[in-house]
Point group: C2
Chain length 422, copies 2
Amino acid sequence: MRLSQNITKTLKDAPADEQATNAKLLIRGGFIHKEMAGAYSYLPLGLQVIENIKTVVREEMNALGASELLMTSLQAKDSWVISGRWSDELVDIWFKSQLKNGTEVGFGWSHEEPIMMMAKSLVKSYRDLPISVYQFQTKFRNELRAKSGIMRGREFIMKDMYAFSRSADELNEFYERTKEAYLKVYKRIGLGDNTFVTFASGGSFTQFSHEFQTVTDSGEDTIYLDRSKRLAVNEEVYNDEILAQLGMKKDHLEKVKAAEVGNIFNFGSIKGEQMDVYFNDQSGQRQPVYLSSYGIGVSRLMGVIAEHFNDQRGLIWPTNIAPAMVYLLAIGNSKTIEAADKLYNILTARGVAVIYDDRDVRPGEKFSDADLMGIPWRVVVSEQFIKNGLYEVKSRSNNTPQQLRADALIKLVKSGNLKRAS
Amino acid sequence: MRLSQNITKTLKDAPADEQATNAKLLIRGGFIHKEMAGAYSYLPLGLQVIENIKTVVREEMNALGASELLMTSLQAKDSWVISGRWSDELVDIWFKSQLKNGTEVGFGWSHEEPIMMMAKSLVKSYRDLPISVYQFQTKFRNELRAKSGIMRGREFIMKDMYAFSRSADELNEFYERTKEAYLKVYKRIGLGDNTFVTFASGGSFTQFSHEFQTVTDSGEDTIYLDRSKRLAVNEEVYNDEILAQLGMKKDHLEKVKAAEVGNIFNFGSIKGEQMDVYFNDQSGQRQPVYLSSYGIGVSRLMGVIAEHFNDQRGLIWPTNIAPAMVYLLAIGNSKTIEAADKLYNILTARGVAVIYDDRDVRPGEKFSDADLMGIPWRVVVSEQFIKNGLYEVKSRSNNTPQQLRADALIKLVKSGNLKRAS
């Protein structure tokens, strides 16, 4: 896209009340706009990052055999009363409102109860199972404080998946496959090395849930990490008894700050029993449906990546989720601009996403915006090299430029696109 | 997708409290699930229809040079107080709630005020203009009654676009181009013949807004239509003076019911002045930004299409937005099932979206579900024809089947995909 025709604009300063590094960088880079504390709009480049993350997540969920659907944000009180979770004392992050006739409605902070109600109407027989469904949904959580930018918003984008199984074994098989799928997701978006399966509290349903925790100083969680085993224990369940149970040794563990980037949950048959969701098995017996749920905070992931991949000059997007592969600019006269226009058309036609900085501003401003925005490759068209048909290409994470012809340039910038992890 | 592994399920009956034809058909066909009056979840096939409509709309908005972004549902009171539209008396469809500290927040029923606040922070100079942005956003409207299925929901999906211009002329040029783009959208999704540009009230900002009205008995609006001119006047502005002004003759007009499927609005410089959004022009003068806004109800369109394209057997999706092109089923023994499995793989590999009815149910049930779901082509694998390498192919809108080899079949079902209207 041509920067001169786009709403995208870098800013010298983030709003004075903004504390989080991720939000400061993303606002300054023109990726998000702060509507209020904990609620950020996604400007075109920010939305592109979100969509790139969603594409990775979607591919891995589809590979599990799950189908995408889209539930409502508006929630009927009835289904939440059954589980007791309508109560503001039990769930202290509800946004609630009222219909004109005085009926209370909630705005979805989770969709476990409504998906169970849906399953109740669609699942009758063992033939209808197993099934798994997921959605990318805006969640609303009325957080007391919202100081972590898009890492903890009052409104945020989440992928939540629900699997309905006929037995504990069937559930466990899907649960383990999903664990692997989650690790593929983090690997593909650049957080693989720093993200660890972590034992966490299972609430009232099961002993443990599993979190996926990315080690970062800005994380809100504390975990005890065994790097060699690539396993961790969340502080909330960290004690001698549990370590012994998990076969983990205290002196192999590092205490580190981490951000939760995924959480998966085994409800067993408890939700089915509680909400009266049963199926008829092959012998005609009524059996409770087994539920497991699987969350990834999509917008939170974008925040964690912004916290993790940056330097003093700005953001450094991993290639698989970068909003564009090339930041193109021309230095100098009408000839170089003409050459840049031409290269822009060639790159676009070859399927390379380009931010073309065609603004009428100083080259220095363009260079610093290229760095601030964190686009993987910067391509400069200058008089010096264009007469020999060469373009200057530099990686955001490496300071050595190369001079390349168009074909070699395209090959180089396309090589950065990681394919689906196998 | 294999129907046996998907949550999709057709139902004999829609919920007893459901009155609207669109919702009855879409629920029975397995496209949507009713959460409460006016709030429907999109099951996998329903979401696919929504995504297909979005793709058409997105392509046409991008062709106008607009960029996609995503704003928040949570709305700060401040920006709406400026325009007076925070008032429940002026705007009687707000859903409102409160932050923990007692601050009131709203849930977006429109985004005009917040986008003006965003423009205020991003637009400073004539160099920043013109720009146009759009989003696909969930809107919340606290309707007193919600009896029209997905044609008028309390929660629905809308494409809203906002254009910021430097002058009335620049605005008008974009406005006229968008009018054409809208007509292309309706043409591509199958409503072109029945959708008409309609003069409607301009509120307090301008004499007229323009609606796009699709003629249908289930519509909530009454319009006066001149078919030969392909122009209409909404009842709300229908009088002798206005007809004279528009050069329309009373005796050329038909009074018909219609559903509004789009609405475009010229605010001129009034919103800019009201909300203090100014830019510096080339001579350094401060000038108000000109705003125009452009809405298409995406989920409403799906409802209008369901109302418009059906018969006693069920839905009949236009090919461009159908959730799949082929409904595949086998009759008989393991040989035909094997052949159907093979054809399913071939079609999928060739990029044809298929619903493969591999359920263990009677053929009659499969035939009637194929019709109820309204998939453009039904393909039957039977012993009679498969021995000669032939498949039985029938269009949903035509009762005469043909026997074709796989290649001819693929050519036929792919020919139905309309390309982008030029």
